[in-house]
């Protein structure tokens, strides 16, 4: 869906076919493939020359052998001809393979660079860029660049070499006849120029209309329910048809120019042959050229028009590649909003297995957009081994706390300290390895159950995985799966229930034995049996760990040492459950709101 989202935007970047800045940058990617490309270029020139020799040999065969009835000479020439053809083939094959391979390696590197950048870009970037758009950078844009490197650049050189070669050979054989023959070239250039101009404009127009068609289509697919509910099918069909017809009109105009261009080039080459017959024939009768020369010239003219046609068409590849390059580089050049530190010296060294981690928020202000504060002047401290429950109504800023602690975003004001050290000073990977994080939407990767559990520490053995699973009661449902721990889970865990995914996430968080547990409790209702398991598992997660839990369930709150109450981005109350209830403030209200019936009973119990 998101892939289609940017179809319409795709075409805003339809730059020039040649942009010196981009071209220089693309050139730098050739890097270690330079030798391959240089070799390919040499092979290409040799191959083109070998091909050029063909008509020349025919000329020699006619003038020297056939005219003098020299059978042996003819055999030798023909063998030479065949030999050259074989070597031209080998040369062309190796050249095509080399450029293709070079293109593959260049694109491989580009794709890796892009992916590496995507591993380093911070979460805000992903909030703004839908997955589909980034995917098309990694796939179709990179593919367009492959075409540039494999079929574009080198082939253009080949076409030019062939054209120049033909002209040179013609001049060497007979400069007079060459002048006569090549007198058609200005017309060829003129026609090619006119064709290119028209087709370029039409190409641009076509892209625009395709984008229009695609976004209309996308809109209709997404809104098909509404279309059907409002009986809009006929009207929307008519609109779709209209856009399609408009696009067809542009296509037909493009076809017109192609239909004109190809025969025009062929006509020009026929005129050139006519010139050879008339002018060259006259020269032959005057004894200025031989019959072999005439035949060779005719053959060269026939070989002239294909490279011309190719060159005219290469323009589109070039244009597409430049636009793609611009989009790819935009990602690569994007600044990283949460900058990574190269192993900060201040990071507490060595103690990967830190016992007792303290967490402190100091006057933290944070907003996703401008001054739209989600957290306002939040300060609190979690002592080593202490567990706190974070409660508050929707939109109170609870989930943001977790995002800041794991440094998905950086705060605008204030500091977040882990063991007394600002999170911005920590080595990011080390910081995150301290924490076992369970996000609200459990993201499950395609792979086996085992793979998912040991996601954070992939080198763990099967036994450790089982232990972690057992500790959080995930082993119950896993052992009931057909392949148990080796059961493949589908993309996004579609085959698992919400509760099962939750337990899997617990096991995953616990797997690497982190000193800190950060848990965003799921709100979705879960069947009572699984709910009981989850509750018990949470209890086990907390033992001996510094924990921050965004709690939605009464029993979870009751397990924690302390409660932080957030309201409209501010930390409004904190303390134990009894203290807060006694305050009769926000927590008390929330308590009534969410656990209404039970509360009354509990309070009654307390008072009794």
């Amino acid at each position: 869906m998101s892939a289609a989202d940017d179809w319409s935007r795709e075409d805003e970047v339809l730059g020039k076919a040649y942009d010196a800045r981009l071209a220089r940058r693309l050139w730098s990617y050739i890097g270690d493939q330079k030798r391959k490309i240089a070799l390919a270029a040499v092979l290409l020139v040799l191959g083109a020359l070998a091909e050029l020799a063909g008509p020349l040999l025919v000329k020699v065969a006619i003038d020297r052998c056939i005219a003098t009835r020299d059978w042996h000479g003819l055999v030798i020439i023909v063998l030479l001809f065949a030999g050259l053809a074989v070597s031209a083939t080998v040369l062309r094959w190796s050249e095509t393979y080399l450029t293709g391979a070079a293109g593959q390696y260049i694109v491989y590197r580009l794709r890796m660079q892009l992916f590496e950048k995507l591993q380093r870009l911070s979460i805000p970037y992903f909030d703004r860029n839908p997955v589909g758009r980034l995917m098309s950078r990694l796939t179709s844009d990179v593919q367009a660049l492959y075409e540039l490197f494999s079929a574009g650049v080198v082939a253009i050189v080949g076409d030019v070499v062939t054209l120049v070669g033909i002209m040179v050979v013609m001049f060497v054989i007979s400069w007079k006849l060459a002048l006569i023959t090549l007198s058609v070239i200005p017309f060829l250039i003129l026609i090619t120029f006119m064709f290119r101009r028209h087709v370029r404009d039409l190409y641009r127009l076509t892209r625009l209309k395709i984008a229009r068609l695609n976004s209309y289509l996308h809109e209709n697919l997404v809104g098909m329910r509404v279309v059907q509910l409002f009986n809009r099918e006929p009207r929307n069909f008519a609109a779709f048809d209209e856009i399609g017809r408009d696009l067809k009109g542009t296509y037909l105009r493009t076809i017109f120019y192609y239909a004109l261009f190809y025969p025009a080039v062929e006509l020009i080459s026929a005129v050139a042959v006519a010139f050879i017959i008339y002018g060259g024939g006259g020269m032959l009768l005057a004894g200025a050229v031989t019959m072999g020369t005439l035949v060779a010239f005719i053959q060269y003219v026939e070989r002239f028009w294909r490279p011309v046609r190719d060159l005219a068409e290469k323009y589109n590849i070039l244009q597409g590649a430049m636009a793609a390059a611009e989009r790819v580089f935009k990602v690569i050049d994007h600044p990283i909003e949460v900058p990574l530190r190269e192993l900060s010296t201040a990071t507490p060294a060595g103690d990967e297995k830190m016992e007792g981690v303290a967490i402190e928020f100091r006057h933290v202000w944070f907003a996703y957009h401008h001054e739209d504060w989600v957290l306002k002047d939040v300060s609190f401290r979690v002592a080593p081994g202490e567990s706190v429950a974070v409660v508050g109504a929707t939109g109170a800023g609870k989930t943001t706390l977790i995002s800041l602690l794991s440094r998905f975003y950086d705060v605008q004001q204030g500091d977040i300290l882990v063991n007394g050290l600002d999170v911005r000073q920590w080595d990011l990977a080390k910081l995150r390895r301290l924490m076992g994080i369970v996000l609200q939407d459990v993201f499950v990767f395609a792979g086996t159950v085992t793979d998912n559990i040991r996601y954070g520490c992939p080198d763990s053995g099967a036994e450790t995985v089982r232990r972690a699973a057992a500790l959080v009661h995930a082993d119950h449902f896993i052992s009931r799966l057909p392949k148990s721990y080796d059961e493949p889970v589908m993309e996004r865990g579609a085959t698992l229930s919400t509760g099962q995914r939750q337990l899997l996430a617990f096991a995953r968080a616990l797997m690497c034995e982190p000193p800190v547990i950060v848990l965003d409790e799921a709100t979705a209702s879960i069947d009572t049996e699984t709910e009981r398991l989850i509750q018990d598992a949470i209890g086990r997660l907390l033992v001996g760990r510094t924990s921050i839990i965004i709690a939605h369930r009464l029993s979870t709150i009751q397990r924690c040492d302390r409660i932080l109450v957030f309201h409209h981005g501010r930390l409004r109350e904190q303390g134990t459950q009894e203290e807060l209830l006694a305050q009769r403030g926000i927590f008390h209200r929330l308590w009534q709101l969410q656990y209404g019936g039970v509360t009354a009973a509990m309070q009654a119990g307390e008072e009794a």
Binding site: A88, F115, L138, H218, R225, F230
Partner: protein, 585 residues
């Protein structure tokens, strides 16, 4: 390849044009083969001491032949490639029309990106078969026939020598084609794996970051990427061979012609002009021979893509039209659910054993927690889905017996996520009633409280919204969708949590205006807010697809169940808001 047979109906309307194109292709080649023959005459004339005047005549004839051939080629391209664009439009339209018939369940299963891909890149592959795929074989076959005839006239022996190469060409095309297909499939598989890896990595970016697994993800991607490059290289090796190999075959045939032709000239069995002409004809065959492989490739890909298109085209719409569609002249608007059950996946029930009657003109509200089946219930009324069990009846007639258009015209829905279209505000409002007069439009906008917002837009009702225009807020979208529904003048109005993004104050005003509008119409209002539903004639509380409470506001409050709890909580919430304001001041 059989998948391509499905294309024939789309070519049928253009059979006249295709025949004309074929005739022109034949004519063009008939004229085209005169070129080398003129060359033969000219060369022979030169050999036997012709005059410059004669040469001029031949040269002029050559240009004339080229002009004639050029004109014919122009028309051939225009007509045959043009046909492909016409048929493409028809095919695309047919596909779109089919998509319009497919029910909501189809769109729940399929990903939009996937359908888009089929309608764009697959359609383009199929189009290539329709255009070049039709033109080149026609052109090549007729040309080959003519050229071979001329060759036979010139020299039988040489022609036989040329024909020896023909099986070699087909063998090469066949073999390389098969290898290409196999390698191509392997590449596509690896490409899917690579895309899946990237897609998962990007979608799960928070988990990847949280577990500091960037490096491992990088290595995983690197491994897949390397394998992808390897598979591509295998393909490059084969593909790189294709053109040079065809070229080689052609050159070897030329060498053979040179040898045998030379001997024939020496033995006086062939004139030099004949030889030159023969080489010229051979030249005419060069490109078509090379093109054979290209066209074969085109057909392979076109067939694969057509298969993907037919996969969708063959989905039968589950919402089948009744044999005798019910089109009543007067509609009262009574809604009845008779023992209705529904399940999305045929396993877990979303609705079970629902039975109720809503008399014409009444307002019923539905409340219940997320996932309790509220939206599912109302989507059965306009037949977005058909119930798995029981029947839904409007005016006593099962919805399945109604004419679908009439049924949907009777009902207007304001959906949860207000899907607007990137068009003018007025066009969005007139979405269901394109011919509604301006005053009705104004009134609908007034009632929905969107009129003031629109007045503030620079171009008023002409303002374009959505992708290519201004972005509306959630509340504005909801109110626009409401006005859109009101403008349809429906007998039955369904509000599916439509006002959740609207603030309470505005909601109050909307409800006030709606009350008059709803007189004489049956309405169903889904909401989380007690304030929205409290005045309804009856309120249903839904839980796990069943009605667990029903009655008026007062009755339900008195009952002390879920609804009473909801009411209490919302009062507390309001109190909490006030508390915060107190604190802030």
């Amino acid at each position: 390849m059989t998948a391509l047979l499905r294309l024939l109906p789309f070519l049928r309307p253009y059979r006249g044009a295709i025949i004309l194109g074929a005739v022109i292709a034949v004519l063009n080649n008939a004229v085209g083969i005169l070129g080398p023959w003129l060359l033969k005459l000219a060369v022979d004339a030169l050999q036997s001491g012709g005059t410059v005047a004669l040469l001029a005549q031949y040269a002029a004839l050559m240009v004339a032949v080229a002009v004639a051939a050029g004109v014919l080629r122009f028309y051939m391209r225009q007509i045959l490639i043009g046909v492909s664009r016409h048929a493409e439009l028809d095919l695309r339209n047919a596909f779109f029309a089919h998509l319009q018939k497919l029910p909501a369940s189809f769109y729940n299963r399929r990903r939009t990106g996937d359908i888009m891909a089929r309608l764009t890149s697959d359609l383009e592959s199929v189009r290539s078969v329709l255009g070049p795929g039709v033109m080149y074989p026609l052109d090549t076959i007729s040309m080959a026939a003519f050229v071979l005839t001329m060759m036979l006239l010139l020299s039988v022996k040489l022609t036989i020598a040329v024909l020896i190469a023909a099986p070699l060409v087909s063998l090469a095309v066949f073999y390389l084609g098969r290898v290409t297909f196999r390698l191509h499939t392997r590449i596509q598989q690896q490409f899917s794996a690579l895309s899946d890896c990237a897609e998962e990595n990007l979608a799960g970016v928070r988990v990847v970051r949280a577990f500091a697994q960037e490096e491992r993800e990088y290595r995983k991607f690197d491994e897949l990427n390397r394998e992808y490059v390897q598979r591509n290289l295998a393909m490059t090796r084969v593909q790189a061979l294709f053109m040079p190999l065809m070229f080689l075959l052609f050159e070897l045939v030329t060498a053979m012609v040179l040898l045998l032709g030379g001997r024939a000239i020496i033995a006086d069995r062939l004139t030099l002009g004949g030889f030159v002409a023969f080489v010229g004809y051979l030249g005419m065959l060069a490109w078509p021979i090379i093109a054979v492989g290209w066209v074969a490739n085109l057909f392979q890909r076109g067939a694969a893509s057509m298969k993907r298109l037919t996969e969708i085209l063959d989905v039968t719409p589950e919402i089948a039209p009744p044999p005798v569609p019910h089109r009543p002249s007067v509609i009262r608007g009574e809604i009845e659910f008779a023992n209705v059950g529904f399940s999305y996946d045929g396993d877990r029930p979303a609705l079970s054993e629902l039975s109720f009657v809503i008399p014409p003109g009444r307002t019923v509200a539905i409340v219940g927690r997320t996932g309790s089946g509220k939206s599912t219930l109302v989507s059965l009324i306009p037949r977005l889905f058909d119930p798995t069990e029981g029947r839904v009846l409007i005016d006593g007639i099962p919805t399945t017996d109604w004419d679908l258009r009439v049924l949907r015209r009777t009902i207007a829905v304001v959906p949860q996520d207000a899907q607007l279209f990137s068009d003018m505000v007025s066009a969005n409002l007139r979405f269901g009633a394109p011919d509604a007069p301006q005053e009705n439009l104004m009134r609908a906008a007034e009632i929905s409280q969107i009129a003031k917002d629109v007045a503030a837009f620079r171009s008023g009702y002409e303002t374009v919204v959505g992708e290519r225009g201004i972005t509306l807020s959630g509340g504005q979208k909801g109110r626009t969708a409401l006005a859109r529904a009101l403008l349809c003048d429906p007998k039955i109005l369904i509000l599916d949590d439509a006002l959740s993004a609207v603030d309470t104050q505005t909601e109050e005003e909307i409800l006030h205006g709606l009350r008059r509008f709803m007189a004489g119409r049956t309405s169903i209002i889904i909401s989380h807010r007690v304030s929205t539903v409290k005045d309804a004639d009856e309120i249903f509380v839904l839980d796990e697809g069943r009605i667990v409470e029903r009655g008026t506001h007062d009755e339900l409050i008195a009952r002390g169940g879920y609804y009473a709890e909801l009411d209490r909580m919302q009062k507390l919430e309001a109190e909490l808001e006030e508390m915060d304001e107190d604190a802030a001041s």
